[in-house]
Amino acid sequence: MPADTSGTRTGTRKGLRKGSGPRRRRVGAAGGQGVPLPLLLPALLALAFLLVPLLALLVRAPWQSMPEQLTSPAVWQALRLSLVCATAATAVSLVLGVPLAWLLARTDFPGRGLVRALVTLPLVLPPVVGGVALLMALGRNGIVGQRLDQWFGISLPFTTAGVVVAEAFVAMPFLVISVEGTLRAADRRYEEAAATLGASRFTAFRRVTLPLIAPGVAAGSVLAWARALGEFGATITFAGNFPDRTQTMPLAVYLALQSDPEAAIALSLVLLAVSIAVLAGLRDRWLTAS
């Protein structure tokens, strides 16, 4: 059994290397000579469109007052809360989302297509609508929340748990889609081999499938985490805004903009830096791992 799993692992690594190789070469070719102008111009425009706003943040940043802006306890409270909640939301998404992805990819049941479409709904739904929906379901007066309140004395709005719920609601579809895609692409023969060797379906999932799809799960987690970190609409609608409890960075930025744009820019820069650092850090690990 252990020999089997290690075999699959090397198989995955090989597959990854194969996948990333040609892609890199293609990028290299495009950077060379012979790029048609009708492609180059819009491409550069797109690049400028995506990067200039971020540059503008740097240009307009109040560098002089930056140290005091950033050392204020309110900023650290909001940043810490953002990181904790996004991580918790990602954990929730992993625990619930991976099994859901497996269900969608590996089983067949009537209406599966519909279920898959519904699962991705929060992706395209405006987050505020998600927040309203959560209020109607899990609010103190919501159809489920009413019971939670009566039976267990649990009320989610205005709590940190509420922030995690709101973030998980908008972030989980990213993980589910990513993992489901990886599961579909993964070779099922390894699972079947494990089954013929006497492994139960759950053991096969745990010992064979999960290691096989680990890169997909990691990619989905990062997407979900980043989405949760930037979540605004559902959070402010469902969880409200209270420093150190439900005020995440995006909320702090939005409210600072109402009266102190400089503070809002400073806060935005912090969020931008954190996002870049995390993406860069993870990208590195992925590259060296493959």
Binding site: V128, L135, G139, F232, I236, G240, F242, L255, Q258
Partner: protein, 284 residues
């Protein structure tokens, strides 16, 4: 161009007015300015074909574009309809929103005729930028009230009752005018209050009570009135210390200054003040 009969059907105003409900307001402040600019451009172009030439010195016509604070939504809509009826050939289009966002739109060149702000500070942004003509006039005032659940199940009767830790109270964030007013009122009573949330504007604070998610909120009297029987209002003496002045002004680059002036005069007239008083505003 022939003169239009007075009873002609008014062109639809829905294409021009930007009505932002409290729920959609959370969607993003950045979009506000764009919305405002986009809407006002559309409105000014529609005024070209929708207006008829002025017929005399006393008659005004054409489109008046009014940027007004969100809390004026209901009363100004009524005022606009009455103004149109009293001045055939005119059309009043509104852009309602947070005062700060509207002020930003005006200072960056949105072609509006009239600006009605919920706070003197926001009006100052516009007049400091040289976009207002003359001195903006205070036309109504608004005071805070406690909004509680219908029938007031928790028996809230004073501001002090809200400091009970058992109650879930929401306040406006201290960055927005209603939050400043709430803090002033609490300071006046020497009270300390820890809410469960600082909401981004007065309407979302009210909504949390209307949805029964919170037990009480400090909002404007007019908001309680607008919410009908979804909430109950409780007056408290400290509110007198935190009265908001609403001011209105004709804008410097008003595309239709004559009609705009008539509209401002109408808002400040006895009839206009009555409509505002009915909505719960304090008139002088």
């Amino acid at each position: 161009m022939t003169t239009r009969p007075a009873h002609r059907t008014r062109p639809s105003r829905s294409g021009c007015s930007v009505r932002r409900t409290p729920r959609t307001r959370a969607a993003g402040a950045g979009a506000v300015v764009l919305l405002v600019l986009g809407a006002s451009t559309a409105c000014s172009s529609s005024s070209d074909d929708g207006s008829s030439p002025a017929r005399g010195d006393t008659r005004v016509s054409g489109t008046v574009t009014v940027f007004a604070a969100a809390s004026l939504t209901e009363s100004f809509t009524t005022l606009g309809e009455r103004f149109e009826k009293a001045n055939p050939g005119t059309e009043v289009t509104f852009s309602f929103g947070g005062s700060d966002g509207l002020a930003a739109g005006i200072t960056s060149g949105a072609p509006a005729d009239v600006f009605a702000s919920a706070s003197p500070g926001t009006m100052k942004i516009v007049s400091d930028a040289g976009d207002a003509t003359g001195t903006p006039a205070t036309f109504v005032r608004n005071r805070l009230e406690i909004a509680t659940l219908p029938d007031n199940p928790e028996g809230v009767s004073s501001l002090k009752d809200l400091t009970d830790a058992k109650l879930k109270v929401v306040l406006c964030d201290r960055e927005v005018p209603c939050g400043v007013a709430a803090q002033t009122a609490l300071d006046a009573g020497g009270l300390k209050l820890t809410p469960v949330s600082y909401e981004q504007d007065v309407r979302s604070a009210l909504t949390k009570v209307a949805l029964k998610e919170a037990d009480a909120a400090l909002v404007y009297r007019t908001d309680v009135r607008a919410a009908g029987d979804k909430v109950e209002g409780v007056d408290f003496p400290e509110a007198a210390e935190a009265v908001n002045d609403y001011s209105i002004t004709l804008l410097e680059d008003a595309p239709n200054a004559e009609a705009a002036e008539a509209f401002v005069a109408y808002v400040r007239s006895d009839g206009g003040q009555r409509v505002l008083a009915d909505a719960g505003f304090l008139t002088s």
